[in-house]
């Protein structure tokens, strides 16, 4: 009885791990697509021409394409492992690039929301790694 219940709940728990970063990236994509002129401004990016606004929107389009691939994995049990692999690759690389940037650009943890971004990136990377391992084990059994 317990086994059936946990078996039924398990994919939803694992799906939740994938849902969290997918949701965050969806918000990022939405901001760049709908308000490209203001989305990067808090970080200090200046958009001086109409072309820059369109290019900023295209950044949102690339993020959106990635995000929709993740959503396709969130809703399919068969693609859950691939989704975790993609999210792991994305959050892990974002984290590494951010840390390298701290060393070469002069950005510090104290600036803006960098502490939050690093903490969230680390958390998502761990959750997606756990999700990937759990999904791999489930497939073997």
């Amino acid at each position: 009885m317990t086994r059936t219940t946990s078996g039924g709940l398990y994919p939803w728990g694992n799906r939740f791990f994938l849902f969290l970063p997918t949701m965050i990236f969806t918000i990022v994509a939405k901001r760049y697509l709908l308000d490209p002129a203001h989305a990067p401004v808090p970080a200090g990016v200046q958009l001086t021409t109409p072309e820059a606004v369109t290019e900023s929107r295209i950044i949102g389009a690339v993020v959106l394409a990635f995000v929709l691939s993740l959503w396709a994995c969130v809703f399919s049990k068969a693609r859950l492992r691939e989704g975790h692999a993609m999210a792991m690759l994305l959050t892990g690389t974002v984290l590494v690039v951010r840390l390298i940037s701290f060393a070469v650009d002069g950005t510090t943890l104290a600036m803006g929301r960098q502490t939050l971004y690093v903490a969230m990136g680390s958390l998502f990377f761990v959750l997606n790694t756990v999700g990937y391992i759990a999904e791999s084990k489930r497939r073997k059994t």
Partner: protein, 147 residues
């Protein structure tokens, strides 16, 4: 008759290589965009995107965005290496190109960007979308035939 069926079998045997060939240019372009943003964000967005990065945080912000095209390229290479993932890879390319195209055309209509300035990119996105769609159709037919 036998020769005809042998040449058809030969075509479908080589179809995965046609699909791979169709995937290579977008993978290369995405990898180049990603690598440029990752290695030199100020130069990349200044020359190509007309964005100005005023602070260290802005440079980091843009460097992080380089992960998306680079990550997309890695996922596509993952699809490229296995025959059974080719259709997924081509679908991802078609989807990305269509999204970029729709957003670019929307951007041209509402941001005041001149179509003349974006003509080359619009054309490239249409071509890559068309080629990826042909690839998806080819892979679907190949799967149906079981080759």
């Amino acid at each position: 008759m036998k020769e005809n069926s042998a040449s058809t079998a030969g075509f479908w045997g080589g179809a995965p290589w046609i699909s791979r060939l169709l995937m290579l240019p977008p993978i290369f372009i995405l990898a180049m965009i990603g690598l440029r943003l990752l290695s030199n964000p100020s130069g990349a967005v200044g020359e190509d995107m007309h964005l100005t990065l005023d602070t260290a945080r802005a440079v980091t912000h843009m460097r992080v965005f380089g992960v998306f095209p680079a990550g997309y390229a890695v996922v596509l290479v993952f699809c490229l290496v296995a025959k059974e993932r080719l259709r997924m890879g081509l679908s991802l390319i078609a989807f990305l190109m269509l999204t970029a195209l729709v957003v670019r055309l929307y951007g041209i209509s509402v941001d005041g960007t001149l179509f003349q300035d974006e003509k080359g990119l619009v054309l490239a996105e249409i071509v890559f979308f068309g080629l990826a769609t042909v690839g998806v159709a080819l892979e679907t037919l190949r799967r149906r035939r079981g080759s």
